[in-house]
């Protein structure tokens, strides 16, 4: 509060162009470093928004009510919709503003509270249900659409495994000449090249096979469906919890 009062007093102080130029001469920081800081701050703000949202939900709880799970889910439809819009609009337009990207779900021992949120966890709307209003929870395996997945998977599945690494070296010709000699393959230079290229392509295709991830669909008795991909760091734990909850609903 006091800091705000002091900052308020800073209005009206002026600086000459020479002074501004002098400060700019001291700006020993690259664009990349600035971008990283910008990303870190935005992540920090998103976390803060999530915490504030949690604090608000907590303030609405009854005395004997407690949180069993907080789920950060990305709306599947939003992913497809934004990928489509992204073809026409700059990312900045899509990320700013109040576009619902997903849900923050608070499951307590009594209620399911669904907060619609934007990319930065800003709450855009809230729906509150009792647990009895949940009809069922289903799960579906879907492709991980992460853009970075292909290269990441290639490194994970091929480069970092001994078998994959040897196969890759073979494809690149490191051991293949010895192999052809040892097994007395009577193929010409072109044949060897084709053999290696096919081996490499097969290896790459098997290596970049995208990961699968689980999509959860919570259907409410009023017909409303929440179709989302779990984005929590403790993803497996949350899925286990949801499966357990799903069994309890069925019983």
């Amino acid at each position: 509060m006091l800091e705000a009062e002091l900052i308020n007093e800073l209005n009206g102080i002026e600086y000459s162009n020479e002074e501004i130029d002098d400060y700019l001469n001291w700006a020993e920081i690259s664009e990349d470093e600035l971008n990283k800081i910008s990303g870190d701050i935005q992540t920090k703000l998103a976390r803060k928004a999530l915490r504030e949202c949690g604090e608000f939900i907590e303030s609405t709880m009854e005395k004997d009510e407690y949180t069993e799970a907080v789920i950060k889910g990305t709306d599947r439809d939003a992913i497809v919709y934004f990928a489509f819009l992204g073809m026409f609009m700059p990312g900045a337009f899509l990320l700013s503003g109040d576009y619902s990207f997903g849900y923050i779900m608070f499951i307590t021992n009594k209620r399911l509270i669904v907060v619609n949120s934007n990319y930065f966890n800003k709450a855009l709307g809230t729906r509150i249900y009792t647990r009895e209003e949940m009809k069922n929870i289903r799960f579906k395996r879907v492709l991980d659409r992460s853009k970075k997945g292909l290269i990441k998977n290639f490194f994970k599945n091929i480069v970092s495994t001994p078998g994959g690494f040897v196969s890759m070296a073979f494809g690149l010709g490191v051991f293949s000449n010895r192999f052809f000699e040892a097994y007395d393959f009577d193929i010409g230079f072109e044949g060897k090249i084709i053999f290696r290229v096919v081996a490499l392509i097969a290896l790459i295709i098997s290596g970049i096979e995208p990961d699968l991830e689980t999509e959860a669909i919570i259907t409410m008795k009023d017909g409303k469906k929440y179709d989302f991909l779990v984005r929590n760091a403790n993803y497996k734990e949350i899925l286990r919890y949801l499966k357990k909850l799903s069994n309890n609903i069925r019983m």
């Binding site: 800091e3 002091l6 009206g12």
Partner: protein, 178 residues
Amino acid sequence: MEDKEIVQKIIEKDPKAIEDLINKYGKLIFGVINKILNSSNERWEIEECFNDILMTLWKNMYLYKEEKGKLINFIISVAKFKAIDYKRKIQKKNNVIELKEEVLRKEEFQDEIDINDQEGFYNLIKELKEKDKEIFIRRYLLDESMEKISKDLNLSKEYIYNKLSRGRKKIKERLEGI
């Protein structure tokens, strides 16, 4: 992006506006901090202070008054205020006394104001006239020299000295009266 738009978006708490602020003023803010902290601080401390200033602007942008001046000036002042405050806190923590500065200040003033006590400082200046307040803020909050203040405000050094001296006297009397 226009300053007005950046201010508006930050007030509306749109985190994407932080990127716009950094794109336009990131280097300048970093330059202000680097100039103040460079010689005595590690790079990570400078970056920590940079983060802190961005969060301060995020939280307090609603205090910016367009009619009182350009956004760039407000941003420099906030950056200077926070960087100097950061430097003082680190010095206090490390128990480092910059003797040279201390000696110089003691030559200039007989009694000092404890700027680490922000609440005390605000209480001291809040009832001063606008011009006197600016002199105090520039001198103590933004750590500007008497020469610079006298040049920027187009006032003689003696005038500035008298104002600071009278201001401190007033403050003392008020404190003794409490």
